[in-house]
């Protein structure tokens, strides 16, 4: 659809246009695979850069044997809980800071100081506090996702149209109810923007944490297969987690579109 206005494919029937556009969308990925195929066994030896076909076969093997599922589910659980907590805390914190000076004064310094720290740098500390495993991974995902959600919620709640608040007050809404009847719904689109930014960050944080501090999960699989020199499995797991992150982003965008029919 994005290309339909500027290209001659407009003459084609709509379903055919859809297929053509899908193919056009995937061309860049095709080019990457092609270059990968040419480089592998050419400039770079196949034992450190396995060919796409080898990696593809390995992906199939990982799914057929079922080996990948337990790790994938553990990783998804960690992303889900970490992201879920960051949404819950981030929205409360962002809206709270925007609408209450004491809350803002209390948390502002904390957020400003932690903002420039790469959250994955906290993994060694988190291991000391929570040990190796799920809790540490969840903490890192949570911390990494928190800021984009807080910042978006904060900016939106700070800029809620004063006339909307007044309109509700004139119809009898009291000060406290304004928060969830007006401020919260008015900020939902920006909160969704924050979550959209947080989803890929969650996967980056997850894999980073699992590479250092885990006995399971996709990051752990990538690390262990790399350590024993099994590069086809390592690449296969990288491709799988990338594909899962891609699907998560697309699914979220789809859900957001349906939820925000009014924007």
């Amino acid at each position: 659809m994005r290309y339909a206005t500027s290209r001659s494919i407009e003459v084609l029937p709509t379903p055919v246009q859809g297929v053509v556009n899908t193919i056009i969308d995937w061309i860049p990925l095709g080019i990457v695979v092609l270059v990968w195929e040419l480089v592998s066994g050419g400039i770079v030896a196949t034992d450190v850069l396995p060919a796409p076909a080898t990696v593809g076969a390995e992906i199939v093997e990982l799914f057929v044997s079922g080996e990948v599922f337990s790790h994938l589910f553990i990783s998804l659980f960690r992303v889900g809980v970490g992201l879920g907590l960051s949404i819950l805390v981030g929205v409360l914190l962002g809206v709270g800071m925007a609408r209450s000076d004491p809350v803002e004064n209390f948390f502002d310094i904390f957020l400003s100081m932690t903002y420039p720290i790469p959250k994955t740098a906290l993994v060694p500390l988190a291991i000391l506090w929570l040990g190796v495993g799920t809790k540490t991974a969840i903490l890192i995902v949570f911390l990494a996702c928190l800021l984009p959600i807080v910042l978006n919620a904060y900016n939106a709640a700070e800029n809620v149209d004063q006339n909307l608040v007044w309109a509700a007050q004139m119809m009898g809404t009291d000060e406290r109810s304004i928060l969830y009847k007006i401020v919260f719904p008015a900020t939902i689109p920006e909160i969704m923007t924050g979550v959209r930014q947080a989803v890929p960050i969650a996967f980056i944080a997850l894999v980073s944490a699992e590479l250092i501090a885990s006995n399971a999960g996709m990051g752990y699989l990538i690390l262990t297969s790399g350590q024993i020199g099994n590069y086809p499995t390592m690449f296969a797991n990288i491709v799988i987690i990338s594909a899962v992150a891609f699907v998560a982003v697309r699914a979220f965008e789809e859900a957001r579109g349906r939820l925000l029919v009014w924007t």
């Binding site: 006339n163 007044w166 309109a167 007050q169 004139m170 119809m171 009898g172 719904p185 009014w262 924007t263």
Partner: protein, 260 residues
């Protein structure tokens, strides 16, 4: 009749120290219950401030505003504002916007539906109940704004240049619609505008305000025969006479602005 607004010794100061500006100074005025009064004045004369003070959104620095003798203390459902930029809740449909005040008032669902439908019909929006504000034109949005305010039945309508953003034919049709509603429902109406013709056409009295700080310059009584059509009214000699009076009075104020 209920809905009398009494303004006495009203003063509104914004800011402090060097930033201190007086928006309204020593304003005394009364709007009778059921009366239609427009407020005109040069830009920056504090006419919107006046409306928001009466609505209770802003606090007066000095003086009092009373409704039927009781001093106001913050916003209340005896007064309803129609905003220039509509201020509709974008996440609510037309129907849900109109029922908001009724929900807040605890009106049962069946009754809410009847009341909302009555006002949606009154502003000619039947069939648009399930649309969201973003799907509506400016004129339709403002009709939703009017229906939403009418639905919880305030005694006093406070309108802040409600048709300011609309083009001329649409303004005229909404003005006529508003006049019909006003005479049917018998509410007090305070209408802010910068359009002299609009003020004279709609109102029984026009309050002309001075330039900064704003206060009462003069009040024009618009004693028009309104039995005819719009065309008959606006082409009448009386209409031209009242319009000229208000225009001249307002012009003196804008002249001051230029010479300063």
């Amino acid at each position: 009749m209920d809905g009398r607004v009494t303004i006495s010794g009203l003063e509104k100061v914004y800011g402090q120290g060097a930033e201190r500006t007086k928006a309204i100074e020593d304003l005394n005025f009364e709007v009778d219950g059921g009366e239609f009064v427009s407020v005109v004045g040069p830009s920056g004369c504090g006419k919107s401030t006046l409306l928001y003070l009466i609505a209770g959104f802003l606090d007066a620095t000095e003086g009092t505003i009373s409704v039927d003798g009781d001093p106001i203390n913050g916003p209340g459902t005896d007064r309803g504002v129609v905003f220039q930029d509509y201020a509709l809740f974008p996440w609510r449909t037309v129907y849900e916007n109109v029922t908001y005040g009724l929900e807040e008032d605890g009106v049962p669902k069946d009754e809410r539906q009847n009341i909302a439908q009555k006002y949606i019909d009154m502003v000619d929006l039947d069939g648009f109940e399930d649309k969201y504000p973003k799907e509506l034109s400016g004129g339709m949005k403002q009709r939703v704004g009017i229906a939403r305010t009418l639905a919880y039945e305030p005694k006093i309508l406070l309108m802040d240049e409600p048709f300011g953003a609309l083009d001329q034919p649409l303004r005229e049709s909404l003005q006529d619609q508003l006049l019909d509603i006003w005479s049917d429902l018998g509410k007090t109406a305070l209408f802010i505008t910068h359009d002299v013709e609009e003020a004279v056409y709609l109102s029984e009295r026009v309050l002309i305000m001075t330039r900064h700080p704003g206060t009462k310059k003069t009040v024009a009584e618009i004693d028009l025969d309104r039995s005819g059509s719009r065309e008959e009214i606006v082409t009448s000699d009386d209409f031209a006479h009242f319009k000229n009076d208000v225009w001249k009075s307002l012009h003196e104020e804008t002249q001051t602005e230029v010479t300063l």
